[in-house]
């Protein structure tokens, strides 16, 4: 996992990150992105055409970005490092931001897989 999060470094708490911080972060990233993409393509994308525009698809990526950021921040800060909300240090904020950017990339990749299973959003974000 350390290699996956190569953009992030926190030498002071390396063992905590290595033991569960990275893994939990990755699970948050994966599960949230999966849920958001599934909601977009498998639920909404089969129910109505209302969300079948690139704009709405992008909106869902922003929702995914924010959700991953908030969940990562809360889980890592409160549960993994057992800090109170006001005492989160910089590295936790930084990790949450990096995880959110990864979530954006994941959302795009998952979209390419899930879009085939949709009815109305089959050609969003790209046509192939």
């Amino acid at each position: 996992m350390e290699n996956f999060y190569f953009l992030f470094e926190d030498l002071d708490n390396w063992d905590v990150w290595d033991e569960k911080g990275y893994l939990i972060g990755f699970i948050i990233l994966l599960v949230t992105s999966l849920v958001i993409t599934a909601v977009y393509y498998l639920y909404l994308g089969r129910k109505s055409m209302r969300f079948s525009t690139v704009g709405k698809w992008f909106l869902f990526s922003v929702v995914n970005f924010i959700l991953v950021f908030v969940i990562t921040l809360i889980i890592e800060g409160l549960t993994i490092f057992e800090l109170s909300f006001g005492s989160f240090y910089f590295e936790i904020w930084l990790f949450a931001i990096i995880n959110s950017f990864y979530a954006f990339v994941f959302y795009i990749l998952l979209s390419l897989i899930f879009k085939r299973l949709s009815v109305f959003s089959k050609f969003i974000p790209v046509k192939f």
Partner: protein, 511 residues
């Protein structure tokens, strides 16, 4: 045995206008018990505006039909829009301008010769000087006695010869004519006598003699400006229509009733008011509900004793029908039409045309739209012929026909749909070319109130607004359409529109 072909003789201006209404009915997907319809237009006034409109609409119809159904088996896709094949009209060439006047045509001056005194006297007895000097290029202007002489030449024309050569054993013949004018009133008895004459010497004469023959005779349904007649500006006097009709009906009763197998009479006591034109390009009467009625009689004829191949097979040798409506109202809408699939098909077709004219172009340019991509339509499909033809049929022919039928000049209007969606109404009515496209504007709310007096089911509530979503319905079924493996993009698009609109109507309307 395969379905019969229908040879449809459309005589005079009324014939062409009924043919135009029939084309609209067939475009709406009414099922017909025929392999194809072969229109035969008989009109000495070759420049007649109604004939021109009729030619244009059939050409447009054919272009669409051929793009979709070329090579498709007869029994497939029945009930879809534009399904019945209509051949390009054959025009029986009896151009009045070739003959000049009746006098010139019969060689009246040569009757001065010795030995022809009695013939000349007899001719003078039958025809007034006005009749004899009447130019024939604009029809017979309400003089069937003149028409009966000139139209004899129809049977000598190449188109008539082709008809006799192509005629098969179980084919049927139907004749559309008006009874109160000149060309139609003269042409119908003449044709009937030719078809039933065992000694006519026609090709396939035996088949033609024994064919099941029907006809619709349109009784007076309009009147023209009498002032023009009184001022000598026009030879047409609608004041004589009823008298002529009575005389013709008496003649039909005596001489034709044993010749025709199925005869329909369509007429209306509520009259329309038309301008008084002596034929020519200016004679472009607006569509009329009674013409739609007459057109529906053709469909009825095709279903009449379907197992009979010749007149001998018929259970009843002659049958006569009259058209009637249950309520004498000034505005006829879908609720007044007999509850068979006619009103349902018109409803489907209207929603189809609304989509084609108002939404389809945007859909075809939407690169992300599911149904467009599923059917692998090219990015410039909206510029290709097929879409252009569909759009033309909707905007140039269909809406114009609807608009004309609802004009105030008709004492009985046909207003099945809300015509307020037509935004360039004034320009359309002034347009002399008849090719100006109708512009329509339909919003989400209007889609629920397109049908006069019958709103679509709307499940909007305080929390949720309901919409009629064409593209959503089409996208839902696009995959299924592909699984039909038609291998023809136009047929895929067309089937998708048919099926999708069927689903929308089933969800929104109970007729």
């Amino acid at each position: 045995m395969s379905k019969p072909k229908l040879y449809l003789f459309a005589i005079g201006g009324t014939g062409s206008r009924v043919l135009r209404s029939l084309t609209i009915l067939l475009a709406s997907g009414i099922k017909t018990n025929t392999e194809k319809i072969i229109p035969m237009i008989i009109d000495t006034d070759i420049n007649n505006g109604d004939v021109e409109k009729c030619r244009n609409i059939i050409k447009n119809y054919n272009d669409i039909h051929n793009a979709i159904y070329n090579g498709v088996r007869e029994e497939e896709s029945q009930g879809e829009f534009f399904r019945t094949k209509i051949m390009p009209p054959k025009e029986l060439n009896v151009s009045g301008s070739d003959y000049g006047t009746l006098k010139e045509m019969v060689g009246y001056n040569s009757l001065d010769a010795k030995g022809f005194e009695k013939t000349r006297a007899f001719f003078d007895l039958l025809y007034s000087n006005k009749n004899k000097d009447m130019p024939l290029e604009k029809g017979f202007l309400g003089n069937p006695n003149v028409g009966s002489v000139v139209l004899k030449n129809v049977v000598e024309s190449n188109a008539f010869r082709e008809f006799t050569q192509d005629f098969s054993q179980n084919d049927r013949i139907f004749v559309i004519s008006s009874i109160f004018g000149g060309t139609g009133a003269a042409g119908f008895p003449l044709l009937m006598n030719v078809f039933r004459d065992e000694n006519s010497g026609l090709n396939n004469g035996n088949y033609i003699n024994n064919a099941i023959i029907g006809g619709v005779s349109v009784l007076p349904y309009f009147q023209v400006d009498v002032d023009k007649f009184n001022a000598g500006e026009s030879a047409i006097n609608s004041g004589t229509f009823i008298t002529k009709t009575k005389a013709a009906l008496a003649y039909y009763n005596r001489n034709l009733k044993h010749l025709v197998n199925t005869m329909y009479y369509a007429g209306d006591t509520r009259q329309s008011n038309y301008e008084n034109f002596e034929g020519g390009i200016e004679q472009k009467n607006p569509s009329n509900f009674i013409e739609l009625t007459a057109a529906s009689s053709i469909l009825d004829f095709l279903d009449y004793d379907v197992n009979a191949n010749t007149k001998e097979d018929l259970q009843i040798s002659s049958k006569f029908f009259e058209y009637g409506i249950t309520t004498d109202i000034g505005v006829v809408d879908l609720s007044h039409i007999k509850k068979d699939n006619l009103s349902e098909q018109l409803l489907h077709f209207h929603y189809y045309n609304v989509y084609v004219s108002n939404y389809m172009k945007d859909a075809l340019t939407d690169e992300k739209l599911a149904w467009r991509n599923e059917l692998k339509l090219s990015s410039n499909y909206h510029n290709q012929n097929f879409f252009k033809e569909l759009e033309k049929f909707a905007t140039v022919h269909y809406y114009r026909w609807l608009l004309e039928a609802s004009l105030d000049q008709h004492d009985r209007k046909f207003l099945p749909f809300d015509n307020s969606i037509i935004v360039n109404r004034e320009e359309i009515l002034k347009d002399v070319s008849d090719m100006m496209p109708v512009k329509v504007a339909v919003d989400d709310k209007k889609l629920f109130t397109l049908v006069t007096g019958i709103p679509a089911k709307n499940s909007s509530n305080f929390f949720k607004k309901d919409y009629i979503k064409y593209d959503e319905e089409f996208s839902k079924i696009a995959q299924k359409i592909l699984e039909l493996h038609y291998g023809n993009t136009e047929r895929n698009v067309h089937t998708l529109l048919n099926q999708g609109i069927k689903n929308i109507i089933a969800e929104r309307y109970v007729l």
